[in-house]
């Protein structure tokens, strides 16, 4: 592209930037009694327009120079793929080891352990959703519904029937799976994007019902004082009720609130490992193979006699039950839940984790969850920009790596190497 064209192109970009920025950025409405007053920020508009113009110009000139060097591809990439798989495996063990010793590190204070727990919740949710999106190839935009079902079933069972965390956990998973089937049954005949929007609607429906059915779910106020889990019957509190011991008394430790946090951390770590292990195993079962086959080619699957509906339903139910487990953990960790925690933005975040992680890659999910949870944490001081940066990062990461951080789709089974007959 000649410099003249580049300047013209950049000018067009700057003009659009002007149109975009002029009203929304340039004029700020201020509440002054009954009528809105206005306040000008034209310097901001000028800065935006100048940045866009210069940025576009630089990109164009730089790209123009690069266009002439064609990229070498082909053989190189296959070997790189093998290396990537190897690195991925080491990375997986490295991350696992690091996760195990994290709370014992010297820098692991309350904040670090708490944030790591947060990351692990998303890792687990990501792995759960991965079954639906990554393996079975069904786009689910309402995954948060199952998370909510898990959280509310634990809270309600614990409060109304006095069941403890370990009794509730399988029940919560079961309930979530039931909801997965309930949703899945009517909609699984639909194609990808329809499915996406129906699941999104389903997620919203669950949230609206939770918000309005006040006598059952507490409505917008949510449910409070949800019981905390105990360590084999040992409570994590300063003092135990009559005739019982607390955790720190039993082990003869000084009381510290960190104990509970560390316990929570290991709890979700175990749950997450279980999820990963279960999913890994399921991929090797006939049903897991069927999921992946279905993702690749639905018609071929049908002609091979795979029951499409049942296969999709199992993926939905199993993905949902992991969401349910994570939900009940969330409820017990927070001690308080309300419909506020289960908005669409959660579904979007979880889906973003799966997609950024590279659809089907377990290590990728861990990386993506870490990035997406830490990103808002890092920008915590800039509370106003937090979600803005989050949204922008989603766009930019997608443009930079459309296939996710670990984008190589490695088939989980391949034919044994066959030799070409010698000529």
């Amino acid at each position: 592209m000649s410099p003249l064209h580049a300047v013209r192109d950049a000018a067009i970009a700057a003009f659009v930037a002007l149109a975009v920025a002029l009203p929304i950025v340039g004029v700020r409405t201020v509440d002054t009694g009954a009528v809105l007053g206005v306040d000008f920020r034209l310097d901001w508009v000028a800065a935006i327009v100048a940045t866009v113009f210069l940025g576009r110009l630089c990109v164009l000139l730089w790209m123009g120079r690069r266009e002439r060097a064609p990229r070498q591809a082909g053989m190189l990439e296959t070997t790189a793929l093998g290396w990537l798989a190897l690195i991925g495996r080491f990375l997986a063990y490295g991350i696992m080891g690091f996760a195990l010793i994290l709370p014992m590190m010297s820098f692991a204070d309350r904040y670090v352990v708490d944030t790591a727990t947060q990351v692990l919740i998303y890792v687990m949710l990501g792995w759960g959703l991965n079954v639906v999106v990554g393996l079975a190839g069904l786009l689910d935009l309402g995954y948060v519904a199952f998370y909510a079902v898990g959280a509310y079933s634990y809270a309600l069972l614990a409060q109304n029937f006095g069941l403890n965390f370990w009794q509730c956990l399988p029940l919560a998973g079961l309930f979530a799976a039931f909801f997965g089937i309930l949703l899945g049954f009517p909609v699984l005949r639909l194609r990808g994007d329809y499915l996406a929007i129906v699941t999104l609607g389903f997620g919203e429906m669950i949230r609206i019902i939770l918000n309005n059915w006040a006598s059952f779910t507490g409505g917008p106020n949510g449910l409070t004082s949800i019981p905390r889990p105990s360590f084999f019957g040992l409570e994590f509190s300063r003092s135990a009720p009559e005739g019982e011991q607390t955790f720190h008394q039993f082990f003869g430790l000084e009381y510290s609130t960190l104990h509970r946090l560390v316990f929570m951390y290991y709890l979700i770590l175990i749950l997450a490992f279980l999820t990963s292990w279960a999913v890994g195993r399921m991929r090797k079962l006939p049903v897991g193979r069927a999921w992946e086959a279905l993702r690749e080619d639905e018609i071929a699957c049908q002609s091979l006699g795979i029951n499409r509906t049942m296969t999709k339903l199992t993926a939905f139910a199993i993905g949902a039950s992991f969401g349910g487990f994570a939900g009940s953990f969330f409820a017990t960790r927070q001690g308080f839940i309300s419909p506020e925690s289960f908005t669409f933005i959660e579904s979007a975040t979880i889906l973003a984790i799966v997609v950024l992680g590279g659809m089907g890659s377990q290590v990728g999910v861990v990386l993506a969850a870490t990035v997406l949870v830490l990103l808002p944490e890092v920008f915590r001081d800039l509370a106003h920009y937090r979600m803005m940066v989050f949204g922008l990062a989603m766009v930019l990461i997608m443009i930079w790596r459309p296939k996710g951080f670990i984008g190589a789709r490695v088939p989980s089974i391949r034919l044994a190497d066959f030799r070409r007959p010698a000529a």
């Binding site: 009203p23 950025v25 409405t29 809105l36 329809y194 979600m387 296939k403």
Partner: protein, 305 residues
């Protein structure tokens, strides 16, 4: 009966707005097969531009009147169009040809970004919109004393929608842009081979959709007299539902779906419970998809091996 009529009028007004937004979804889906998730935000930005322009004009000493109303409506179109173009250029075009979920994620990111951008720039509180064009006329009066009111604004909204629909139909049927757009919809590769600038056509489709959404946003700002940065999400979701209900890819279908969704919402709120009106809308969507997955006016999609 009078009560029903009143709710039907309100529902149709609401439905016209949903229809206008739904057209943007359906055209974009028809041409590149993606859900433009940020479309609801363009509608919200349209509302905000109305607020800003009205405040600006108010500060310069123009009280709201029908003329000002129309000027704001026209002035908002280029701004929202610029948003539509910029969104497509920045978030979707670089991802063309990559796998199916990538543009969707990018769109969700864009939606989150725009929502929070507007919140950051204009504040999180509800913005009041001055009442323009108050009053209306009484259509009929029941024996019980219940009157069926039609607001002037409702007439403006419906009339505007009809004009836009006629214009859009002409644009798609008669102009070279319309032909190019239909060609891209049928077979993008073939259209490219025949010398149609596919990128420009897609960009124009986005601009057109954004202009319609912007108009819808401005009219809703007048109609409800209040604007909030989170308005785009639910309205966008319902408009998408409308597009699916009418048969995605079909422009008349989107309008029809919008009107139906508006009616369902208004009637459900009137006769059952206002809290569950959104649940009702989504339930209708599910039912339609089960019994008629292609929507009301959609063509069945034939899958070839």
């Amino acid at each position: 009966m009078e009560y029903f009529l009143q709710q039907a009028i309100n529902g149709l007004t609401l439905g016209a707005v949903y229809g206008l937004i739904a057209i943007g979804y359906t055209m974009v889906y028809g041409i590149i097969g993606m859900i433009n998730f940020a479309h609801g935000e363009v509608y919200m930005i349209g509302s905000f531009i109305a607020v800003i322009l009205l405040a600006l004009l108010g500060a310069w000493g123009f009280p709201p009147s029908l003329a000002i109303l129309l000027i704001v409506l026209l002035a908002a179109i280029p701004f929202t169009s610029a948003f539509g173009w910029a969104i497509e250029r920045v978030a979707y075009r670089p991802l063309r040809g990559s796998f199916r979920l990538a543009p969707l994620i990018s769109a969700i990111g864009m939606s989150i970004f725009l929502q929070n951008l507007v919140q950051f720039l204009q504040g999180a509180r509800n913005k009041p919109v001055p009442t323009a064009l108050p009053g209306g006329f009484t259509l009929m009066e029941a024996a019980s004393g219940f009157t069926v009111q039609v607001r002037w604004l409702q007439i403006v909204v419906v009339a505007m929608t009809v004009i836009l629909m006629v214009g859009l139909t002409l644009l798609i049927q008669r102009t070279s842009f319309g032909r190019a757009q239909r060609a891209c919809e049928q077979d993008m590769k073939m259209a490219m081979l025949l010398g149609i600038d596919v990128n420009a056509t897609i960009a124009r489709t986005f601009v057109l959709g954004a202009a319609l959404a912007g108009i819808a946003g401005v009219m809703v700002a007048y109609y409800y007299n209040v604007v909030h940065f989170y308005d785009g999400f639910l309205a966008g979701l319902k408009a998408f539902t409308a597009a699916v209900l009418g048969g995605i890819g079909s422009v008349p279908g989107a309008m029809l779906g919008g009107l139906l969704i508006g009616l369902i919402e208004a009637l459900w709120s009137a006769y059952f419970s206002i809290e569950y009106k959104d649940v009702a809308v989504f339930s209708v969507l599910v039912l339609v998809l089960i019994f008629r997955p292609t929507g009301i006016l959609g063509r069945p999609e034939i899958e070839k091996v």
